[in-house]
């Protein structure tokens, strides 16, 4: 059985990193709103990066969704895990999901919105 202390530590770590990413994301969005960055598709490279990033995030989401199978037996419902425990498991999963989501969004925004060189987007 996974120790609850470890699970709560994982949850706390994930929330801390997710919070940091959220702050960076707000700063990034404020730059976009201020016209300092603009969207750039980046052609074929942009498509490949999008596909790979989405596949990685999707795999992580799939793995998280099937965590009860790993913890107990194939097909264990989440509702059962919630009741049986261990305590902190749901908190850890929630924090991990938020972290992966936040990291995905940040990576995409960061990659596709590039700094405008030589004046604002409107000026050009």
């Amino acid at each position: 059985m996974i120790d609850s202390g470890i699970l709560y530590s994982i949850a706390a770590g994930c929330w801390a990193v997710a919070l940091l990413i959220a702050v960076l994301l707000v700063l990034l969005i404020s730059k976009i709103a201020g016209g300092k960055k603009r969207f750039k598709a980046k052609g074929i490279k942009g498509i490949i990066v999008f596909l790979i990033a989405t596949a990685v995030a999707g795999y992580c989401a799939y793995y998280i969704y099937h965590l009860p199978d790993t913890l107990y037996y194939y097909g264990t419902p989440w509702a059962m895990v919630e009741e049986i425990g261990p305590s902190g498991f749901m908190e850890a999963v929630m924090a991990l999901s938020v972290l992966i989501g936040a990291a995905y969004i940040y990576a995409m925004v960061k990659f596709y919105f590039v700094k405008i060189s030589g004046g604002t987007y409107k000026e050009r």
């Binding site: 097909g75 509702a79 049986i84 425990g85 261990p86 305590s87």
Partner: protein
């Protein structure tokens, strides 16, 4: 901006709908009474009577029971069908029926007829299709043999008697920690089922359509309940018997704790899994430790023995209180397999049970025993590691005094999967 706010509001509304009560609390459910079968909706549980003194055959009894169940809970089939699907995955689903087939021949003929009668009221027929919303005959058998085929009953038991009881007679508390289903399926069909025979009557605190004994008692003041105790022994169902069905038979035919325990011991090696049975009568309580297929400790191999308050326990396990017994999901008798020490789920509950019982002093009242059975650290925690006797998995707490037939039961609310911080007990009239 308004559109975005509107979308969020619509999404929040959808979420609310999804998280709403599992049961339409406004629905009015009538009582059912026909020939020897009656069901009364008591709000949070169903009060069922199956009266064989009317001369009904088991088959007819089953037919009427099935009809009554559907009248009282029209969604019964989909509830049980989805419950089975949640407990048995699609890979194991076909194989579980072969286990059922192994167990069937050893079932009492009258029990088979009851099950077949109940199934005749349902729409599944003979087609076994997982999660189709219908209940077939085999699926009803599977539901009735779930503890033998899929196991998974976790529980606790505490009892005081003699000088340790305020009434000088036995007070027993049994906590049923069982997965109730994501839609609260089991609480929605929970019931007190009285089966009246010309010679003897029994009462099962269980679930409509489940005819074995999870927790039960008879009018000879014998109380019995099943508890799981996994030993890691290989599983076999070939030629085996169902232990909750045998326990029903024991309650239907035996007059004393010892004879009921003896009956179970006689068949102990024919069951599919190792388990514990908590027994009480008006004078005492004991726990039958059945480890027929497992190994032992201390150079001994205890196979199937009764544990009393003064029994010698395995190294490292202590029990200080006189005239009181307790049990979690492990063997404890000296020489029996030690499936206790390395299992935090058991050690924590055992230690909390002892500590809470110790706080009550040398003499325990029924209310104090309820308090012990309701122990949690503020709110019910996760079953595995909280150490709470009353935890997130608790579906029932049964407090019973055999001498006076006083029965108090906490049933998980039908409309919510979340257990309240403090369980509310209902007084239940039996054998009226």
């Amino acid at each position: 901006m308004k559109k975005v706010v509107g979308m969020f509001a619509a999404f929040a509304l959808m979420l609310q709908m999804g998280c709403g009560p599992a049961k339409d609390t406004l629905a009015v459910k009538p009582s059912f009474e026909e020939e020897g079968v009656s069901i009364v909706d008591r709000g949070n549980y169903f009060d069922v009577t199956l009266d064989y003194t009317t001369g009904l055959t088991p088959r007819r009894m089953g037919e009427l029971f099935g009809k009554a169940i559907l009248q009282m809970e029209p969604e019964y089939e989909s509830l049980i069908d989805s419950y089975i699907a949640e407990n048995i995955n699609k890979n194991d689903y076909p194989g579980s029926f072969s286990r059922v087939e192994d167990l069937k021949p050893q079932l009492e003929q009258s029990y088979k007829e009851e099950i077949e009668g109940i199934a005749s009221a349902f729409s599944g027929g003979n087609e076994n299709k997982r999660a189709d919303g219908k209940l077939s005959l085999d699926e009803l058998y599977l539901f009735n043999l779930l503890p033998d085929v899929a196991r998974g009953t976790q529980c606790s038991f505490i009892s005081v008697f003699g000088e340790s009881s305020e009434t000088k007679s036995t007070i027993s508390a049994r906590i049923l920690d069982w997965y109730g289903g994501s839609k609260n399926q089991l609480p929605r069909i929970q019931g007190v089922i009285t089966i009246k025979h010309p010679q003897k009557s029994i009462c099962s605190i269980g679930y409509m359509g489940y005819i074995g004994i999870i927790t039960g008692l008879n009018d000879s003041k014998v109380f019995a309940a099943i508890l799981d105790s996994q030993s890691g022994a290989p599983y076999s169902s070939e030629g085996r018997r169902s232990y909750p069905m045998d326990l029903r038979y024991a309650l239907e035919t035996q007059d004393t704790l010892d004879s009921a325990a003896e009956f179970m011991k006689e068949h102990s090696e024919q069951h599919t899994i190792n388990y514990l049975l908590a027994f009480s009568d008006e004078k005492e309580s004991k726990v039958l430790e059945n480890n027929f297929s497992g190994t032992g400790t201390n150079g001994k191999e205890v196979r199937c023995e009764l544990r009393g308050w003064d029994s010698k326990l395995n190294d490292g396990i202590t029990w200080e209180m006189k005239n009181a017994v307790g049990s979690v999901n492990s063997f404890m008798l000296y020489g029996n397999k030690d499936n206790y020490s390395d299992n935090k789920c058991n050690t924590k509950r055992w230690e909390n049970m002892k500590a809470e019982l110790g706080k009550m002093g040398p003499v325990v009242t029924p209310d104090e025993l309820k308090e012990v059975a309701s122990f949690n650290g503020g709110s019910p925690g996760a079953f595995l590691d909280s150490g709470d006797l009353y935890n997130k998995m608790t579906l029932q707490i049964v407090v019973y005094q055999p001498e006076s037939f006083e029965l108090d039961v906490f049933f998980r609310p039908q409309e919510s999967r979340k257990n309240p911080d403090k369980p509310v007990f209902e007084k239940i009239q039996i054998f009226n």
